[in-house]
Amino acid sequence: MHKLYTFLKYTFITLWTVFIVAPFLWAISTSFKDFQSVNSKVTYIPWLDFEPTLEGWRVLVKSPARGGVDIVEPYFNSIFVTCTASLISIILGTLAAYALSRFTFKAGFVRNNDITFFFISQRIMPPIVLSIPFFIFLSTIGLLDSLFGLVVVYIVLLMPIAVWIMVDFFNRVPKELDETALIDGCNPYQAFYKVVLPNSIPGLIVAGMFCIIFGWIDFFFAFILTFTEVQLLPVKVVALNSSITPWWSLSASALISVAPLIIVAFVVERYLSKGNLSGALK
């Protein structure tokens, strides 16, 4: 009975791992192919099935004029928008989360939980519902197709995540911590800045990771609200898809776009295994 269970367990884990890794392996293999080895028949292993070439990777850094893809600029745009929006969301979200965790708010029938719910409920909003008014709004004030316009929209996407994670985290930081600081003569701001914040670094990192993930993976807003001046990475890669399917450069650019966040997986796992995530995610 026990042996059977162990056997099934490892079978399931192995199958799932294969399922997860399969598209990556396929993309890695495809990125080294040329026209012949993509279009004649399905090939898998370099040297054995086909002669590998670096063409797919080379076009990534060529300028469009010479038939390249040029994903360098979209790459930096994506990094800039994601990091700026994450940073603003974390700062504002952490402040709000601290207030919601430590103080009591009352306004009519509105209580702390309702305010927290208001923040988090913004995730319910489908991107399409926001993108039509934003499209008209940003074009009116001339911010369509600009980095600033995207950062504003991404704050709406990311702040709910920051508040969600930080409220739970602060609820687990003992209240005595700030109370002691207050008795020692700190004002509430100093207590927050000098005592609570340094003790909340794991929570801040987890919240930051989640903001970066959800900012980096967004496609729809970037797709609707930018055209030519500013291009983000996902939009650029998907644009490749519509042309005559150069699968090799498509795979290479896809791999290079998802690569940085794979590191995030290691960081998240680290905090998960140390037990820091359990309070932060509930």
């Binding site: 399922f19 207030a99 319910i124 909003m125 399409i128 039509i132 008014p133 496609f219 998907v238 998802v258």
Partner: protein, 288 residues
């Protein structure tokens, strides 16, 4: 602790969020009462004409909504079952525990549209590896993307791949935070692993499960990127979801007024149905 300072902490975030959102919401409601389209791009007032059209003369929207419900409920159930199973498996000591944990997390870190581009080549009906490998064991090519029924399942496969890790993460974080005592008690009573799961683990995990399911349902209801790249709603309208239909009406056909009507109705339906689902799940899973 009660200070006037508390507002200093809360208000920046609250007002930035309200400030960014208030305009789009009011604007959407106003727009939904107008006939803004590519011929008359102006904010005229046509009353509830758009709403009448939606409720009497637009089966395509309702079909897309039921399709969305089917897709999101199916994917979330699959993600919950698989995610919970995976979390249980790497919860306690196994070989290469941390390696598997990282592997299981990776898909959620990847951009859905970009991975979907890869999946599109993966499921390509003549040049993709899936049909080729199936062909090797004598199975006829499957029309992954061009058969109306199978295309739905292709979308489900991709969604399960992409988002099971999120469910896994939430559930594993929950498992790791459980108190030890109930498990010790169960071990002393000599409970079998199965009974331990049914009577100890599952009830303790119920609140976390509900949270995770609701969060995933919220995210799954926005399913759009995958469909957009994988099938573009096709073949025909076989994989068209509400968001995608609103996108077609609004930003392809430029019927902004009508698209706003769809958006607002859709948002109201979503909020109501998610509230009901949350209530029902709480009733079902937490027995007093």
């Amino acid at each position: 602790m009660n200070f006037k300072h508390k507002f200093v902490f809360l208000f920046p975030g609250l007002f930035v969020l309200i400030g960014i959102l208030i305009f789009p919401i009011i604007f959407t409601i106003r727009l939904s009462l107008s006939g803004w389209n590519s011929y008359t791009p102006e904010m005229n007032f046509i009353g509830i004409t758009n709403y009448i059209r939606l409720f009497t003369d637009d089966p395509r929207f309702w079909e897309s909504f039921f399709r969305l419900s089917f897709l999101s409920v199916t994917t979330v159930i699959l993600q919950y079952v698989i995610g919970f199973a995976l979390a249980l498996m790497v919860w306690r000591e196994i070989k290469f525990k941390r390696f598997f944990r990282v592997i299981f997390l990776i898909p959620m870190m990847t951009t859905p549209v970009i991975m979907t581009v890869i999946w599109r080549t993966f499921f390509h009906e003549s040049l993709g590896p899936v049909n080729d490998l199936l062909g090797n064991i004598g199975i006829k090519p499957i029309l992954w993307l061009s058969d109306p029924v199978i295309a739905k399942f292709t979308v489900i496969i991709v969604e399960v791949w992409q988002w099971t890790p999120f469910m896994f993460l939430l559930l594993l974080a929950g498992l790791l935070s459980l108190p030890k005592e109930p498990f010790l008690a169960a071990a002393i009573d000599g409970a079998s692993p199965f009974r331990k799961f049914v009577y100890v683990t599952f009830p303790l995990m119920a609140p976390i499960s509900i949270g995770a399911i609701i969060i995933r349902l919220i995210e799954a209801s926005k399913i759009m990127d995958t469909v957009f790249v994988l099938t573009s709603g096709g073949p025909g309208t076989a994989t068209e979801t509400s968001s995608f239909y609103i996108y077609i009406k609004g930003l392809r056909e430029f019927q902004m007024g009508y698209a706003a009507t769809l958006s607002f109705t859709y948002l109201v339906i979503m909020i109501i149905s998610l509230t009901i689902i949350a209530k029902v799940l709480t009733k079902l899973m937490i027995k007093e």
